[in-house]
């Protein structure tokens, strides 16, 4: 039981450290939020969206903005450690390195979820429909969890390349496609007032993605950071 406790404590401390860095610097979440809003604005004019948006379009807008904004946070969360060789310090912690993965994934998940929670009322205001549904929040938690879970893994991978930050979207977007499809479809259904039972398969797909990518992080993070 002891090593398990140690593992969880390392995960928790890394998560806490990330939150503290964010709280003191406030350079991550606000940037992501502004970026997400810009995406909404760009799409609004590029696609000439009407103020009375269909449920499908609103859900799509939400997830595209989240997916783009989240990339900024993911890149930052690993490059921050790289900047002052803080990563070397983390790697010295006598614990399986997947503990670092879970700490990082947890903080990335928190940041993107925060952006989503601010985005929801703004979108509701802009497009004149209440987007605050409890099931939608649940879908956001599941979808963002899978997305940032995969994203944290790929960010650690792409940071080792010479192309760095440019590489992450190229690796992440195609691999994250099933997560985005399921999230958008589930959100669309909820906004259109479909009962949750009909959206079951999407929710299960998201759950499966959550489990799958956590497992991938558990298995491969050590290998990725090896040196």
């Amino acid at each position: 039981m002891k090593p398990m406790l140690h593992y969880l404590r390392v995960t928790w401390q890394i998560f806490r450290k990330d939150i503290r860095v964010e709280w003191r610097g406030r350079q991550g979440v606000p940037v992501m939020l502004v970026f997400a809003l810009l995406v909404v604005f760009l799409f609004n004019f590029a696609l000439q969206l009407s103020p009375n948006l269909q449920a499908g379009l609103a859900a799509g807008l939400l997830w595209v903005a989240l997916a783009f904004a989240s990339t900024l946070g993911l890149n930052r969360s690993i490059s921050l450690e790289r900047e002052s060789s803080a990563l070397d310090g983390l790697l010295l912690v006598p614990v399986d390195r997947s503990a670092i993965y879970f700490g990082k994934a947890l903080s990335n998940f928190t940041f993107t979820t925060l952006v989503a929670l601010v985005l929801l009322p703004i979108l509701s205001l802009f497009y004149q429909q209440n987007m605050f549904h409890l099931p939608l929040v649940l879908v956001i938690l599941l979808g963002v969890g899978a997305y940032t879970g995969l994203g944290t893994l790929l960010a650690a991978l792409s940071i080792q390349s010479r192309t760095r930050d440019v590489l992450l979207p190229i690796l992440l977007y195609p691999l994250a496609l099933p997560i985005l499809i399921a999230s958008v479809e589930a959100s669309r259904g909820i906004l259109a007032g479909q009962p949750l039972g009909e959206l079951q398969s999407w929710i299960y797909l998201l759950l499966a993605a959550d489990i799958l990518f956590s497992a991938a992080g558990l298995m491969f993070f050590e290998t990725i950071l090896e040196e």
């Binding site: 010479r162 590489l167 195609p174 994250a176 499809i181 999407w202």
Partner: protein, 227 residues
């Protein structure tokens, strides 16, 4: 230094002969499909190359596992070779599919699960080369490449499944369960040519991967001599 294995030479000749044979089989032996006409004959090579692409991506992931377990660079050569050949097979599948779709569906492209999944698959494995080109040492290239091909092979079926939950118009060749209505029935001659093309394309795939593998091997030898 590395003499060409005689088995590979035999495979070369066998591939060429059998490819010619199956071409003759398709052009002169199979009946012309009643409603679609001669364009239906694209089907034999189309399915065979799609199958070849899929197979080589699975092979790449298996070789990735092989690398992570043994840490022998040979496995990375195999992984790289499979991805490269798989990309070409996938491209052939998409292009030949388009040739068939234009007269039959009256459009070059539809956002159907199989088409979209194949296209995304091509992008995912193109990104594999972008990832590799940014990594400096052969060891990191092999290690991160292995992780990437394994994660990719997990998400591809997930993507397929998620788009499948929408409706599909792509013909189902091997009908499963109740949806036999959209499957078209092959005459024994068609079936023979179909299975023959699958076998021959698998042989060609093995031949090409082997050649590419040897190229990687020779490249490695030269690099070692230079250093």
């Amino acid at each position: 230094m590395h003499k060409k294995p005689s088995l590979l030479s035999i495979l070369d000749i066998l591939s060429i002969l059998l490819f010619t044979a199956v071409l003759i089989l398709i052009l002169f032996f199979t009946p012309t499909e009643l409603t679609m006409g001669p364009v239906q004959k694209v089907f034999y090579f189309h399915v065979a190359s799609a199958w070849g692409g899929m197979l080589s991506f699975i092979l790449a992931a298996a070789a990735g596992i092989g690398y992570l377990v043994t840490r022998k660079v040979r496995w990375d050569w195999l992984s790289l070779s499979s991805v490269e050949v798989g990309l070409v097979f996938g491209l052939i599948a998409i292009l030949s599919g388009m040739i068939w779709a234009q007269p039959i569906w009256n459009t070059w492209w539809v956002w159907d699960p199989r088409l979209t999944t194949t296209a995304i698959m091509e992008i995912i494995y193109l990104a594999y080369f972008i990832l590799r080109s940014g990594l400096d040492t052969p060891e990191t290239r092999a290690r991160l490449g292995a992780v990437y091909v394994i994660v990719s092979v997990i998400t591809v079926p997930l993507t397929f499944f998620s788009i499948r939950l929408f409706r599909t118009i792509h013909p189902v060749v091997i009908a499963t369960g109740g949806d036999g209505g959209s499957a078209f029935n092959m005459t024994p001659r068609m079936l023979l040519a179909f299975i023959a093309s699958l076998v021959v394309f698998t042989l060609i795939l093995a031949d090409l991967v082997w050649h590419r593998y040897r190229l990687a091997q020779l490249q490695n030898t030269i690099e070692e001599e230079v250093n």
